[in-house]
Amino acid sequence: MKDMVSRTGNDTLLSIDGLTLDFRTNRGRVKALRDISFPVRKGRILGIVGESGSGKSTVLWSILGLLAGNADVTAGRIDYGDKNLLTLDAEGLRALRGEEVSVVFQDPMTSQIPVLPYARQMSDILYRRSMSEAAKRAAAVDMLRRVGIPDPESRVDAYPHQFSGGMRQRAGIAMSMLTGPNLLLADEPTTALDVTMEAQMIGLMRGLRDDFDTTIVVVSHNLGLIAEMCDDVVVMYAGEVVETGEVHDIFHNARHPYTRALLECDPARIADVTRKLPVIPGDIPDLTKPLAGCIFAGRCQKAMPACVTTAPPLIKRGTGAARCHLLEGPLADPSWPPAPEVPTVARDTGTATVRGAAKGEPLLEVRDLNVQFRTMGALKARMNGVARPFVDAVLDVSLDIRPGETLALVGESGSGKTTLGRTILNLQSAAGGSVRFDGAEIGNMAERRFKPLRRDMAMMFQDPVGSLSPRKSVRALISEPLLIHGAEGRDLDAEAERLADMVRLPRGFLSRYPHELSGGQARRVGVARALALNPRLIVADEPTAGLDVSVQGETLNLMADLQAEHGLSYLIITHNLPVVRHIADRIAIMYLGRIVEDGPAAEVFAKPAHPYTRALVEGVPQPDPDRRRPPSAAIEGEVPSLLRRPKGCDFATRCPLARDACRVEKPEHRQLTPDRRHACLFPLIDTQDNKNKTETP
């Protein structure tokens, strides 16, 4: 069955040739894919990398024939063995899907059937096989064991909602591997997961490839994931393949200006700590318009007049090919590509560079703050004899933010960081502790009394588009804070324009609606709303979530400029550690609602005291294929549920260095240096003596 004789050579499993595809929309035909060609080599992991709108997922879905109804394939072929998948009939495709080609989806939450146990879902996958039910079940159990589900014999009868996020994705991978497919397609397989989970998934998928000899095509925007996982890389931009090559070639010897720019924009690859991140100026081109020349010409730093008019040919170089005039022909530039350390993307060296230690009294002082969520009603709790029908979402958190300072709050999902941010802004009531702003207690204040304070404290929300009221124009959205807090005698139109200028949003966007904005533009609207009332503190919840690498720098630079200009303080809530390193003065690491370590960002990154901090710092996939971590580096397990908070140290269940004492005693916060604290019984940087003990448990 697996003996495929391909027309393009024996080592090619799948070959995409000249794939061109349009989407019919009411804005006209969107030329979503144009002349996509690349081979997928047998037994290798191919990564398709690109920003949103690059068409990378569309390529994946065209392989399976699972395109949206308004898609029109106008040219090209996808050869799998001797079949052209684009002309294969529905029955032929169905025979292929699941059996020979299968998929791992981005969100295991929505891609699994909530009302069927895994045993049933997995034996259904094997419906074509003439096996007994018991044999199917045994196969399912084996596969679950292989992907690292503990106790698979009983877990196979669980329903998806009984699994945690990471386990669900493991089960998803098990389902797709169950039929022993030749080709596994993975669409952003780790985007919905935390950093520590991501590292585990990368190890798992590489292991599966080695064991089952499966070819994997993975689509991602995450350069770290691509570098750690893939053998071959295809770089896509605005519906075209701009460069292909082996992973080392792409990451160390990128030949297309877009690939270069993309790599340079990744904060994880910028060694020196700067407030200013590089950005690719401009926007992705409108694919409904007629296209001419190089697709990247409008944003390229090296663009020449000919780039706008003449499409560059695909030029073979090294292990791959790139589509650029600089490489060959009359416009060739022998000095291109420059050495890796030479920047090709303009770096904004604007105002904000001063990074003096913020002094003075703290603007915000949080002391022993607790937030509890009720798990059951008071009556039910009494009847069941539950003494504490609560979970502690935030537990004894203390932090300070001084004027002009940026504090980053870092943690995985479920660590309570968002809850903490909302509680500080009085959007969530606290169960205990104090929040002082500018010296005055503001915790749990009645909304009527808190309202004047909302001028001084603003919030930026995680979803740039979703946090804007969908039926309001940008103009109404930007001027709304002024309306709420009394705008007597102010020209709202003029104010809206002033704010739009401040966040560098073109004034033409004022008459648009949120759904007509890109993530980066919507983010700027959010910043403008937060700034409208000249606040002193901004709580930013994942300010770069959902933004492409080339755009996130723009947002962060804007925030840094505004901080320098207005003396703002930021509390940045994020899980994105590479970004934190560049923008934060101090960081606080949260785990299960507690701050386990806090201190100056540079120190914490260089020498973490808490094993969890170290796991996070090391857990970020490095966008460099030469710095792949051994599979064992990832910490085991997942964040436990708040309902089952461990008795001793919260991290003891996953800590590679945990000892008996850790499982019994809850570590208190200890002062390491005047501005560093941690909550670990055996910190990584205490004394040499302590280190020795660590190594011999």
Partner: protein, 305 residues
């Protein structure tokens, strides 16, 4: 489509406001064009306009007085003199349909708009307010729903005597729960979205959140519902009129025409047919119009993103 910073139109302030005004105008024109190219929308609009016009101008259009009896021609089928035939008293059915439309319009316009507004406000309060208030309002909605409209009407009439006002009050009261429930569900879904939280973080009052930010997002389905409730309301009126507790006999209404025709359906089927056609056309008209309007005024369904 996107105006980049380098766009000359954007860099100049005076030109900007002109460009904005122009783009707003263009957007309005685009919406109009989209509406006019949607055959369902145009058909719906046409039917609704005919409904309104015929009801308003009935006294001038109708060839006969709705109550004038032409005894020799009673129970006649469609003829040149009586294009929709006559009833058992020889009254011209076409004239009665036109005049009956006035009653339908009156009940539909006032009944639907009143119950829509009340249902919307109550539903938003139930969805956004505290749990106990939600439970209380739901209980009220369910109580009204479970109570048969006819019994309620009979009880009311026993106290007040039959009149069009009673019909209207019953119509409003019994249709509030459907709007209220839809509005509540839609509000509940919005309650924990980030944009509502964002409004709260700016210090927006509850009233502002409900009327400025929740309402525009929940009213769409309610308008569709309202368009579809129009015929329901008209038939409640017809049912009550049939029982003698609504529109009183000499006055024409679509309900009374249908019911009178029903008695003689074996001998004069055209009466039921003629009485049913305007009801069907009105239903279609409001449904088409409602859907076309939603497609246009929901910005998320525009431009296809």
């Amino acid at each position: 489509m996107s105006a980049l910073p380098s766009d000359p139109v954007v860099s100049d302030t005076t030109a900007t406001s002109d460009a904005l005004r122009e783009s707003a105008g263009r957007e309005r024109r685009e919406k109009l064009v989209r509406f006019l190219t949607d055959w369902q929308g145009v058909t719906g609009l046409l039917l609704v306009v005919i409904f309104f016009a015929s009801a308003i101008f009935a006294p001038w259009i109708a060839p006969y007085d709705p109550n004038a009896m032409d005894i020799p021609a009673r129970m006649s089928g469609p003829t040149w003199a009586h294009i929709a035939g006559t009833d058992q008293l020889g009254r011209d059915t076409f004239s009665r349909i036109l005049h009956g439309g006035r009653v339908a319009l009156y009940i539909a316009a006032i009944g639907v708009s009143a119950s829509l507004s009340i249902g919307l406000v109550l539903g938003m309060i139930a969805g956004y307010g505290p749990r106990w208030l939600d439970n209380l309002l739901l209980l009220a909605f369910d109580a009204v729903r479970s109570f048969p409209a006819v019994i309620l009407a009979l009880a009311t009439v026993a106290l007040t005597g039959p009149s069009l006002t009673v019909v209207l009050a019953i119509v409003i009261l019994t249709t509030i729960p459907s709007y209220g429930r839809v509005a509540r569900t839609a509000t509940l879904a919005l309650r924990h979205t980030e944009f509502i939280l964002a409004e709260r973080s700016l210090g927006a009052s509850t009233g502002r959140i409900l009327f400025q930010h929740v309402m525009p997002n929940v009213i769409g389905p309610l308008l569709i519902l309202a368009a579809m409730e129009v015929p329901v309301v008209v038939s409640i009126e017809a049912g009550l009129s049939f029982l003698g507790i609504g529109v009183l006999p000499p006055q024409a209404s679509w309900g009374t025409i249908l019911n009178e025709g029903y008695l003689v359906i074996r001998d004069a089927p055209w009466m039921v047919i003629a009485g049913g056609i305007p009801l069907i056309l009105t239903t279609l008209g409001f449904t088409f119009l409602g859907e076309a309007l939603r497609d246009i005024f929901d910005p998320r369904m525009g431009r296809g993103r």
